[in-house]
């Protein structure tokens, strides 16, 4: 199990990598979304916002209006944010579940493949 602080720290790494990745940023064009990260083991909800092709800081808690909810274990989120785990493999095996509009789910899936390929 990973603590919320550990997830936030790992996300910081993912965020700076992603925001420095031109290819990923290109894929985020016109895609402002509110994404909730929900842990199944520690029952934590954290919010990531995508604005102007940039990932914002992660914040604890979730607003009412969200576009995507990504559910998984705290450990998996940590490993994924650190880049130790291929998020797309966890997604296809059903260990990470994404809820949202089909187009948004497809884009997040593709973005996670690109992020992993590019690191």
């Amino acid at each position: 199990m990973a603590s919320t602080d550990e997830i936030i720290e790992a996300y910081g790494e993912w965020q700076s990598r992603s925001n420095a990745n031109d290819r990923l940023r290109k894929m985020l064009r016109g895609w402002d979304r509110v994404v909730i990260v929900e842990t199944t083991d520690t029952h934590e909800r954290l919010t990531i916002t995508v604005v102007d092709q940039t990932l914002t800081d992660i914040v604890v808690g979730a607003p009412e209006m969200v576009d995507l909810v990504v559910t998984g274990t705290s450990e998996d989120f940590c490993d994924m944010f650190w880049g130790d785990l291929n998020p797309s493999e966890k997604y296809i095996s059903g260990e990470i579940v994404i809820h949202g509009a089909q187009a948004d789910v497809m884009r997040l899936d593709a973005m996670s493949m690109v992020a992993f390929l590019d690191q």
């Binding site: 894929m27 291929n86 493999e89 296809i92 187009a103 497809m106 884009r107 493949m113 690109v114 390929l117």
Partner: protein, 462 residues
Amino acid sequence: MHVPEQLRDAVVIGAGLAGLRAAVDLERAGCDVLVLEARDRIGGRAWSGVAEDGSTIDFGGQWLGPGQTRALALAEATGMEVFPTWVAGANVELREGERLEYSGLIPTADPDASIEVVTAMLDLDLLGLDVPVGAPWEHEDAALLDAETMATWLDRNLASPVSRGIVEVALQAVFGVNSDELSVLFVLAYLHGGGGLTNLTRTTGGAQERRMDAGAGALAAHLAKKLHGRIELDAPVDRIEWDATGVTVHVVGRSVPVTARRAVLALSPILAERIALDPEVPQRHALAAGMTMGRVRKVHARYARPFWRERGLSGQLISTNGSISSTFDNSPSDGTSGALVGFIAGRDYDATADLTDDARRNLVLDELACAFGPEARLATEYHEVDWPAEEWTGGGPVAVMQPGVLTRVGDALRRPIGPVHLAGTETALEWCGYLEGALESGERAAAEVVASLALTKGSEEG
């Protein structure tokens, strides 16, 4: 009204999954139904045999994936084991004589090219979502999208020959043809119905996720059992006379035709067009002329054990040169023996069609050896099914559309011709080209028939 004694409620032409599903549903609805099948077997493109070691070989359709609810439920109803396709280990890519290993969906040796592939596949999948299911011609850019081939779309959207090669292999695997034979609008509609190209090319989480222990043939057998012998084999239909009240169906070599109030044509539009209709409907010819059956040769190489697993390999191959473009581990679920399944499709099919069987087998085994190690040459059994040579299918996995067809005559795919209703995976709204689509189309056609018979009955009584 005088009703001749042998007048049935419905006759179904084709005992593939579409026809069998339609017939079972019709019988359940209380219809007197007969199925006419050209071959000496049922199943059509769902056809299984037995290997020397007793395990099942699927000569045609074999995989099931998430979202294919009808096919998964039917597989469950047969009681057979449905198990995950073997994916553990590294995948192999053969490119210009080079052998590379990778993990995940897309070969990773050239990250720039891989990212281009992911992006292009996402673009296609997102474009597909905008294509109206069942009426692609209603898309606001339908004319434009249907005027273009996938080849020119790829030219515009992929800069590197490597990424181009990978997407070409993906299209070849899904459709059995190459990009220059495909209308963009057709591809987008197909992708929408099947959850996207990413989904269609994935193993875990996608269309190749699961296998059936007793094979796809067991799905057909399960449905056929419910029909209590109301299937006539070796009964190729060559002509159907029809009017508002029903059909007279002529079987080659038989003097007595079958008469029924309704017919279901449960075969690909290309095969269906070979059956003459009287009166004829010209749109059918335009539709069939603009469609091509995929060209695929399905190859099985069997081994004493799945030796590639011992080398940390998954058995999955993507090859942009050579004859085989993709392979998967097709060993029985307990792994007691090994099997690789591969596909020679599209251009590669054409290039190898004239080889002798021996020469082609050697070529294939050499390529497998290149990918998985020299043991691959020591196949204990080798099977090939040449789908274009199958008289009553004419190719596979599916009939595809060239540019201009969907917008011109696409609505002829499903629109009933008087009392003749149309089924077959090519007419499916979702999962067109798949076992699931065949079942969906059969279900839909049966519902149409039941509704129209009820209407007729109502008006007769009223």
